[in-house]
C-alpha cells in the first residue's frame, strides 16, 4: 500500500477544512430551505372596499354621466349588472371611445378590443440590441386590472412549492388578455406589503423597498421606502388600496426620471406605467440574450415610460422572472425554456360583471 506523502499537520488541516465545508453546506441548505422553500400558509385579509361603482353605459357616455354612475348606490349597481354589456365606472372619464368596440370582441396579434377593454401590443427593437414589448391598456372598470396569486391556484400546481407557479400557466388559468410577471412577494418576508385585488396577503413594516399603490379610483402612486412611515401607510390604507406591490424602485419621481438609481447594470426588466385612471401600460424588456436583447438599466427603462407620457412608473421583479404573455402564449422571449416561477402576475381581463355573466 502506498503511503501518503502528506505530513500529519497537512492532513489535519485538510480534514478540518473538509468537515467545516460539509457543515457549511448543510447549514446553508437548511437556511435556504427555511428562507425560500418552506413557507407558512398565508392568511389573506379582505380590506374595506368602496361601494361598487358598476353600471351599464355606452362607450360614448359623457363624463358627467359617468361620474353620476360612479355614485350609484349598491342596490342600483346590483340591478344594473344583471345583463351588463358595457361596464363603465367612469375611469376614463368617457374619453377614448375610439379604443373600444360597441360590444364585439376583436382580437389580433397586435391588439384586443372589446366594449370594456382595449390592449395594444407593440414590439420595439433597438440596435443595441434591445427588444422590449409595450402593452398599452385602456380599461373602463378597475376589475379588469387584477393580480393573480399562485397560492389561489394550488390545485393546478404540480410543483413542490405551492406558492409559486409559471407565469404562463397563471395567465392561462386566469384567462388574461395580457399578463406580466409581478413583484414575486413570497420571496421576501420583511419590509413589504402585498395587497391583491383588495385583499391583504402580507404586511410587514417598516418597508424595505418602494411600493406602488393602485387605488379603487384608478389612480396609481408610488412611495419611496425610506420616506414612507407608518402614518403614511395608515393614510394609504385609509384611501382603500386595490393593489399594493412591493419591489421597485419607483422609476419616475414627480413625473421625472431620477438622476441615479442604485444599480446601473442592464437586465431583463418588467414594469408598469400609469397615464391616468383607466390608462396604464405594461413594459417588458428582454435581456441577457446576445444578438437579441441585452436588457436595459433603470435609467433607460424609466426614460421609456417618461417618453410614452407616463406620470408614474414602477419596476417589478426582473431577471429570470420578467416575462409577458398575450392571450395564452408568450409575448416576450424568455431567456430560459422555463423562466423562474412567480408568486403573482399582473393581468388585464374583462371586468367581473362581464365574466360573471358568462
Amino acid at each position: 500500500m502506498k503511503r501518503s506523502k502528506l505530513s500529519y499537520p497537512a492532513k489535519r488541516l485538510i480534514k478540518t477544512i473538509l468537515w467545516d465545508m460539509l457543515a457549511l453546506g448543510i447549514c446553508i441548505n437548511t437556511f435556504a430551505y427555511f428562507h425560500h422553500v418552506r413557507k407558512s400558509d398565508p392568511t389573506p385579509t379582505t380590506l374595506s372596499t368602496p361601494t361598487p361603482a358598476v353600471a351599464t353605459a355606452t362607450p360614448d357616455t359623457s363624463a358627467a354621466e359617468s361620474s353620476d354612475q360612479a355614485d350609484t348606490n349598491a342596490g342600483d349597481a346590483a340591478e344594473a349588472t344583471e345583463e351588463p354589456v358595457v361596464v363603465d365606472t367612469g375611469l376614463l372619464n368617457g374619453n377614448y371611445a375610439e379604443m373600444f368596440t360597441d360590444g364585439d370582441v376583436e382580437q389580433t396579434d397586435d391588439y384586443y378590443r372589446s366594449a370594456n377593454v382595449s390592449v395594444t401590443m407593440t414590439k420595439v427593437e433597438l440596435d443595441t440590441p434591445v427588444t422590449y414589448y409595450i402593452a398599452d391598456i385602456y380599461i373602463k372598470d378597475l376589475s379588469s386590472f387584477k393580480t393573480a396569486v399562485a397560492y389561489e391556484y394550488q390545485e393546478y400546481n404540480d410543483g413542490l412549492r405551492k406558492n409559486v407557479m409559471p407565469t404562463l400557466q397563471l395567465a392561462q388559468l386566469t384567462n388574461s388578455i395580457v399578463a406580466i410577471s409581478g413583484d414575486n412577494y413570497t420571496f421576501r418576508k420583511e419590509g413589504l406589503i402585498a395587497v391583491r385585488n383588495g385583499v391583504e396577503w402580507y404586511k410587514s413594516t417598516p418597508l424595505s423597498d418602494d411600493i406602488c399603490v393602485l387605488y379603487y379610483d384608478g389612480t396609481m402612486e408610488t412611495y419611496a421606502a425610506k420616506s414612507t412611515y407608518s402614518t403614511q401607510i395608515a393614510e394609504i390604507y385609509e384611501r382603500q388600496p386595490y393593489q399594493i406591490w412591493t419591489f421597485g424602485p419607483q422609476l419616475l419621481i414627480d413625473g421625472e426620471v431620477p438622476e441615479s438609481f442604485s444599480s446601473t447594470r442592464a437586465n431583463p426588466l418588467s414594469g408598469i406605467g400609469y397615464f391616468e385612471p383607466g390608462h396604464y401600460c405594461f413594459i417588458l424588456v428582454d435581456g441577457r440574450q446576445k444578438g437579441y436583447s441585452l436588457g436595459l438599466n433603470y435609467t433607460q427603462f424609466a426614460t421609456i415610460f417618461k417618453d410614452l407620457g407616463c406620470t408614474v412608473a414602477y419596476n417589478l421583479d426582473g431577471g429570470d422572472t420578467a416575462v409577458m404573455t398575450y392571450g395564452d402564449e408568450w409575448r416576450s422571449q424568455p431567456q430560459d425554456d422555463s423562466p423562474r416561477d412567480t408568486s403573482d402576475i399582473l393581468y388585464i381581463c374583462e371586468p367581473d360583471s362581464v365574466t360573471d355573466g358568462q
Binding site: T16, A23, C27, F31, R188, K189
Partner: protein, 106 residues
C-alpha cells in the same frame, strides 16, 4: 462537555462567518432576496455573535491559564535557582573556612 464545546465552538464560528460572507456577497448582487435583512439571517448573525463571544471568552481563559502556568513555572525556576545559589554560597563558605583552617595549621 466543556472540552467538546471548546472544540466545536471555533468551527461553528468558521461556518457562521462563511455563511455571513455568502449572504453579504449575494446581497450585493440581489438585495431583494433579503439575505442580510430577513429574520432568519438575523438569527444567524446573533448566533455568530454568541459563538464568537464564547470562543473569545474561552480563548481569553486559555491565555490567562497559560500566563498563570508560565508565571508558576518562572517562580519555580527562580526558587530553584535561589536554592542552588544558596547551596553554592554555603559550599563556598565552607570551602573558605576549610582553607582558612588549613592555613592556620600550616
Amino acid at each position: 462537555m466543556k472540552r467538546f464545546i471548546q472544540r466545536v465552538m471555533p468551527h461553528a464560528v468558521i461556518v457562521l462567518s462563511l455563511m455571513t460572507l455568502t449572504f453579504f456577497s449575494i446581497d450585493r448582487v440581489n438585495p431583494i432576496m433579503a439575505f442580510m435583512t430577513s429574520e432568519l439571517s438575523k438569527w444567524v448573525f446573533a448566533l455568530l455573535a454568541a459563538t464568537g463571544l464564547l470562543t473569545a471568552i474561552f480563548l481569553i481563559g486559555m491565555q490567562w491559564r497559560e500566563d498563570d502556568r508560565r508565571a508558576r513555572r518562572d517562580s519555580r525556576r527562580k526558587a530553584e535557582a535561589n536554592e542552588a545559589l544558596e547551596e553554592a554560597s554555603k559550599a563556598l563558605e565552607q570551602a573558605t573556612r576549610a582553607l582558612e583552617k588549613a592555613k592556620e595549621q600550616d
